[in-house]
Amino acid sequence: MPFESTLAAFASALCDPAAPPPAATRGRKGAPDARRFAVYRNNVAVGLIGALEARYPVVRRMVGPEAFRAMARAFVAAHQPRSPVLIAYGEAFPDFIEAMGVEAGLGPLADVARLENAWVEAYHAEDAPAVTLADLAALEAEDLPDARVALHPAARLLSFASPAASIWASRQNGAEPAPPPDTPSTDPRALRPGGRAVPLARNAEADRGEDVLVARPEADVSIRILPTAGYVFAKRLEEGATLAEAAAALPDPHAFGTHLVGLVAAGAVASIIPGERP
């Protein structure tokens, strides 16, 4: 089929920067024209690199625009999008950075990239009401141990071997974050999504790992560093444990209320489901 083979040759030449323009294409002189075809190749690359620049503004700030562009170009060449919905494009970039072994001398870039990716996921996640502190206060205390917790659709728990959240917070612009771009697929130079720089308690041992909660109960994404015990508690709840089972992981199981209040206050809980009462 000529149609199929013509477009297959076009697609193949798009993917190979060294390929000549497809033989079936014509410029004004009646022959394939490399500069004309290069416009398409450039549009594809610039658009996808722009999507990564928009998704990973802090990583870009950490390594500088030139180095970021080189990394992004390599990623784009290896990871062609499989969907026209570019909101999800670039999820694999953190692992790609880690595999490249890139470090900026400022901390592990891949972890900061994972945090930025979680930020974007939370930003676009399904909207849902979050449990409030008043809702929590209205529950019977004796119902709590057997209850399970459904995390909010935007909530993300991440555990880093590096102080990724402190680095992320320290590399914000300071100014009011710009609204994230619409990143139309034809938009190579969109504005960066600002991360809202929530004041973070500086981890006492900043060269150690950080456990992080990303949440977006309403419009704004927030990023919080959790105490290690709080992270383990939340992670168990995410995995389906009852409050009593999750509390058993705490140094002081009776203190689980503090951690539960923290999750609720962050807007990270969609519902608290009472257990079966005997």
């Binding site: 013509t6 676009h124 935007a154 771009p181 697929s185």
Partner: protein
Amino acid sequence: MTETGSDALSRRSVGVGFKAEHFDAIFESRPKLGFFEVHAENYMGSGGPPHRRLEAIRALYPLLLHGVGLSIGSPAPLDGAHLARLAGVADRYQPALVSEHLAWSTHEGAFFNDLLPLPYTEETLARVCEHVDLMQSALRRTILIENPSTYVAFAETTIGETEFLSEIVRRTGCGLLLDVNNVFVSAANHGFDPYRYLAGFPFAAVGEIHLAGHAVDSDDAGLPLLIDAHDSPVREAVWALYREAVRGLGPIPTLIEWDNDLPAWPTLLAEARRAERAMDAAAGLRRERANAV
């Protein structure tokens, strides 16, 4: 979504592409504008601030939905999942118009983030018409197909672009989106007369016009190569071509597209005001336009 007072799209409407960066300025000033248009793919996330902003805009203005990823110009079958997503966005926002491109962007599952050209032959015409039929069935509405800006032509092309578009209209009943900047860009790039192209364009099917800025480069032969960049004001020669189109069409919903290197809101609004004046003058209309909703 509940019905609002913002559903009427008049023939004399002028609108702009909605960008998140302009939301605050728009919401504070609530300018009198005919409509906003968005790229459907940017609203295919589940939730979050993009939908909150668009719902707020939609409550105040008519909305037009412009698809950039369905790849109706592909030989392969349409992506059913993507078509369903597009129908979902259309159901949610009840746009006054839905449009897509005479172009392709997907090949064997890989998405090329651009609007790519296709040869114009009986074979490609049949395939495009099948895809337009499917899209119109899925959306349960007539859609508009946009003429492309192109940088290369194809050796096997046997049908002229306006004839190709006319035949899509005849076979599918769809309407057309006349992108005047694309006409100008393609005319310069392939060496045809944009006014003659307009004279051959099936005006009766046109439901909307797009206007945008373009950049200037050159090809292997050193000839000018215009790039459909959407990053600058509409050029004077494109305004002239627009006036010619409106003289033939009468008043017609017109969009200012500005997607890259976004200007401050007042600059974009000024482009829309210029389009209103140009449309009125070319269509021989006189009217008072209020400045706010």
